[in-house]
């Protein structure tokens, strides 16, 4: 029991501590690709600490909801991050929410963040919220279709079971898996407000979505929102890793030294994913907002096609 609690707690701390590093790493690689020096790897931690120490400046008519939302968004994202298998599967509370529930918990974080954008009553917040829900209305169904595909392959929506199944030799190469992976990557890019959907590095551009929505936040509230964004990036990295690259995740019955392998493999997967994301973001340009429905619609159609293939035949 104590061991189980320790593993669950360990994962919660690990994701919390690693997520700013992942963000810093992606930024660093992007900077190097652009032949810039880039900020140091630990810069996100410094930013977070500095923000937490500053006073919060609230807009005159901000309501109690505006002040509660950062904590709620952080809590919801953190829970999702601690339920996705990272270095070890079958954690103590892994059964308390399956993949559909994890997606929905992330959805409720977004719901409240969109409300926060509307609270102060500026047009920046409104435009951010409005675009965020438009993107979500296409990305969420695509995500659910991906979940359907994977759940039908693995015969479960429980992430630990799915990841174990994906690691076994029964999986093989499947068309639906390929389609699902492409769709999942598109959804992950959209959900995390990365290029070409949104640009996490800018504040002053009319095409921005996420940053416009949280423009009114400052101080510790902003720190929590930034930390949640970093955690969310980590959640999607972990999700893709545990479903499509489940190697090295130690099973609940494995001997302790395999845990070290699990942690090392997880770090390596994050680093690999970070490099790929940075290369992709550097190579592609930001899209106009009204090109996005086509981009996300393609993901939705791919995911639907994958699910249809799975429904029709077990061999795809």
């Amino acid at each position: 029991m104590i061991r189980d609690v320790a593993f669950q707690g360990g994962q919660m701390l690990l994701v919390l501590l690693l997520s700013p590093l992942l963000t810093g790493f992606v930024r660093k690689v992007k900077a190097r690709l652009l032949r810039r020096q880039g900020p140091p790897l630990l810069q996100p931690y410094r930013d977070l600490i500095r923000l937490m120490r500053k006073d919060v400046v609230l807009a005159d008519n901000a309501s109690w909801l505006f002040r509660v939302i950062p904590y709620f968004v952080f809590a919801a994202t953190w829970i999702s991050a601690s339920l996705v298998p990272t270095f070890r599967s079958g954690l103590l509370f892994s059964w308390s929410a399956d993949l559909i529930a994890i997606i929905a918990v992330l959805g409720s974080a977004r719901f409240f963040l969109a409300l926060a954008g509307l609270d102060v009553g500026t047009s920046f917040g409104g435009i951010g919220s409005s675009r965020e829900v438009m993107i979500a209305s296409l990305a969420e169904p695509a995500m659910l279709m991906i979940v359907f595909t994977l759940a039908l392959i693995a015969g479960s929506t429980q992430l630990s079971t799915m990841s174990a199944f994906m690691n076994s030799s029964e999986v093989g190469l499947r068309v639906s898996l390929g389609l699902g992976l492409i769709a999942l990557i598109v959804v992950a890019i959209a959900e995390n407000a990365r290029i070409p959907v949104d640009n996490p590095a800018t504040h002053l551009e009319l095409t921005m979505v996420h940053e416009a929505m949280v423009l009114e936040y400052s101080g510790r509230h902003l720190a929590l929102i930034e930390l949640s964004a970093a955690l969310k990036l980590l959640v999607y990295f972990s999700l893709i890793a545990c479903l499509f690259a489940p190697w090295g995740i130690s099973s609940p019955t494995a001997e302790p030294k395999l845990l070290i392998v699990g942690v090392a493999a997880y770090m390596a997967k994050l680093a690999g994913g970070g490099v790929l994301l940075a290369v992709f973001e550097t190579a592609i340009a930001k899209m106009r907002v009204f090109r996005l429905p086509g981009f996300l619609g393609a993901a939705l159609m791919l995911a639907l096609l994958a699910a249809l293939l799975r429904f029709v035949s077990r061999s795809f």
Binding site: A97, L118, M145, F311
Partner: protein, 669 residues
């Protein structure tokens, strides 16, 4: 015995109507009618709960009313008991809310007499055990609610809404009447027992299914028969809107389940496909319409259509599994559908109460004139937010649990052998997922533009918090949403006898699962624990807040809003509900609503304002309703000629008709 008690309660409600007439517009009347309403509906609700937990005791009563050779049969089985629970607890909540809300009513004598009749009629529909009592109660329900819809008859929109409602209701009842006629067969066995025993031929059963989809579906609001619903539901006073949306649509769902799952006999293979397709389309269309509305109560009415769509998808899945004999999967889908029936009755009532409180406080339902009410009405805002989270299917509240169960049922459908269903179910699943995501957008918009931001008009900035009775009703419903969300196992187990009687199987017992999780099939396949998710959210949010306040900073100060520069303080610079919906309108609306945006720029040098006009067309209205209305008018114009004939022409017409009928009789085999 239980049925007799319930009938006493119904009689008490009927007695309340003349009392309400005598009390008329006196201020005591409101308290008496709604107070008695609470007492009676609560009693009925408790009786219904007892019936639900003693499922083996089916209780029947036959009264010497109605058709002389038939009598009026009433029966409470597990299904009826469940819907009695929904009707009566919904009625109790509405009565409690109306204790406060009804005091602001200008002409209570137009509402009070019909209100108890309406409640009684809904109880009777659910209990009826023969076609005659069912249809009479159904008509009582339609007519009393029609009277309540046109309570404020000086508003011309309400009169139009009432007219369309009356037309659609009679059309629906006609379809049900024909359906029952076909079920009763040539001998006219109108008792449900006789219908259960006899199985109609495949063609007749198919016809009955279509007629029930029209009859019950038009009352429930299935697309394309939904046109009356978003007009009539918002027109009524808000507690009636809550009953119509939260409860009466469920009575219609009951009618569908009773006939299709109970009376009609074994289902044919294609039935589920029809139900699934209609359900999926209804869900997406309903929420897309809701996103385009400015009127808060109309948003809620269209969202009811969406939720009815979700319920019918679950029922369609249950039908598909039942056809193929997969009882456990059918039980999963049926539980999901019935649980959503219960959940929707909770949060839709809550939301309509909230909208009613806003309407009372400000006098408007137009979101573009509201805003900032979270400062003026903090408690209403809080409970309305709870309702929004619940209806958007977000954990840890109850809406998510029933959607989650529906998704789990969809994941079982590759086991269906039929190819059509194999292709259809994932598409319907995608529609369901799309409607869930759009519902979240819709309720961000509904809450955000009503309660958040800055007040857009003086009426919004002068609003007052609503009264304590209304708040109590809303808090109770919000608490129920939370309990059903974090302890769904209890509710799933309570539904088991209902599901067992309908599809011949049940979900595994949930209350014994450790940590109070719900596990539809096996823990290795899927499980969800709302309680833990809720506790984790509260705990980690609280820990974060505590740690940051203790270790870092807890100071905050106020300053003007920062919109990358200090924005114009005019409230007109805020985002509006219409502009919020614009991206979604551009993505989906160009097809569904033929949305067009016309921008008019003034010539250079002119100081005239630029204009943007948005044109939306209701395609269903244009292509289904308008042609029918035009056709009827045209036919009436033509036939008008017949009213001005001479006596000789009339005599020859009568003679010709007689000869024709005799000829038909002679030729008829």
């Amino acid at each position: 015995m239980m049925a007799v008690y319930v009938l006493y309660g119904v009689a008490a409600l009927f007695v309340l109507a003349p009392i309400a007439i005598t009390l008329g517009g006196s201020p005591r009347g409101t308290g008496v009618v709604y107070g008695a309403g609470i007492v009676v509906t609560l009693t009925l609700g408790v009786i219904a709960l007892r019936c639900l937990f003693n499922p083996l005791q089916t209780s029947t009563v036959t009264l010497p009313l109605g058709l002389p050779w038939l009598g009026a049969h009433f029966r409470i089985d597990a299904l009826a008991a469940f819907f009695l629970v929904v009707v009566n607890f919904g009625g109790a909540a509405a009565s409690l809310f109306a204790l406060g809300y009804g005091r602001h009513e200008h002409s209570p004598q137009r509402i009070l007499p019909f209100y108890p009749v309406y409640l009684a009629a809904m109880n009777l529909v659910v209990m009826a055990d023969d076609a005659f009592s069912f249809l009479v109660s159904w008509e009582f329900m339609s007519l009393s609610s029609w009277a309540l819809v046109i309570a404020h008859h000086r508003v011309s929109d309400n009169v139009r809404a009432g007219y369309i409602y009356l037309l659609m209701a009679s059309f629906g009842t006609l379809a049900l009447l024909l359906a029952f006629g076909l079920l009763a067969g040539a001998d006219g066995n109108y008792a449900f027992d006789a219908m259960r025993a006899s199985h109609p031929s495949a063609a007749l059963a198919a016809l009955v299914l279509i007629l029930v989809l029209i009859g019950a579906g038009s009352k429930a609001g299935l697309v394309p028969l939904h046109a009356w619903l978003p007009l009539a539901h918002p027109a009524a006073p808000s507690h009636i809107s809550a009953l119509m949306s939260g409860v009466m649509t469920k009575v219609a769902v009951y009618g569908f389940i009773r006939i299709v799952f109970d009376l009609l006999g074994p289902p044919d293979w294609w039935w589920s496909m029809v139900v699934l397709a209609i359900g999926g389309i209804t869900a997406v269309m309903g929420v897309l319409y809701a996103l385009m509305q400015r009127d808060l109560k109309r948003v809620l009415a269209y969202s009811t259509i969406e939720n009815i769509g979700i319920i019918f998808v679950a029922l369609g899945l249950a039908l598909a599994f039942k056809t193929e004999g997969l009882a456990w999967a059918a039980a999963l889908a049926m539980t999901a559908g019935l649980f959503h029936v219960f959940n929707h009755s909770l949060f839709k009532s809550l939301l309509f109460f909230g909208a009613g409180s806003v309407l009372n406080a400000t006098g408007t339902r137009d979101m573009e004139q509201l805003g900032g009410l979270i400062h003026r009405m903090p408690q209403t805002a809080f409970v309305f937010l709870a309702g929004c989270v619940a209806i958007s299917a977000l954990p840890p509240l109850n809406g998510f649990v029933s959607e989650w169960l529906t998704f789990q049922a969809i994941l079982q459908s590759p086991q269906l052998p039929s190819w059509g269903l194999k292709l259809m179910v994932p598409a319907v699943g995608a529609l369901l997922a799309l409607s869930a995501a759009l519902a979240a957008a819709c309720f961000v918009r509904a809450f955000g533009f009503t309660f958040l931001g800055r007040p857009r008009t003086p009426i919004a900035s002068g609003a007052q918090e609503t009264d304590s009775n209304s708040l109590a009703a809303m808090y109770l419903l919000a608490a129920a949403c939370l309990i059903a969300g974090i302890l769904p196992g209890i509710f799933i187990d309570a539904l088991a006898p209902v599901v067992q009687s309908l599809v011949g199987g049940r979900m595994p017992v949930q209350t014994g699962v450790e940590w109070l999780s719900i596990v539809p099939i096996a823990e290795s396949r899927s499980s969800y624990n709302g309680l833990l998710v809720f506790v984790f959210m509260i705990a980690s949010g609280a820990i974060a807040a505590f740690a940051i306040h203790r270790l870092a900073s807890n100071k905050s100060r106020r300053s003007p809003a920062w919109g990358c520069g200090y924005p114009d303080p005019s409230v007109a610079t805020q985002y509006t509900a219409d502009s919020f919906a614009q991206p979604i309108r551009r993505v989906f609306g160009t097809v569904v609503f033929r949305a067009r945006e016309i921008g008019e720029m003034p010539p250079p040098g002119s100081t005239a304002p630029a204009r943007l006009t948005v044109l939306l067309r209701d395609v269903i209205w244009d292509f289904a309703y308008s042609p029918i209305a035009t056709g009827v008018t045209l036919a009436a114009d033509r036939l008008n000629y017949l009213q001005f004939l001479t006596i000789r022409s009339y005599l020859s017409l009568v003679f010709a008709a007689l000869v024709l009928l005799l000829l038909v009789l002679a030729i008829w085999p």
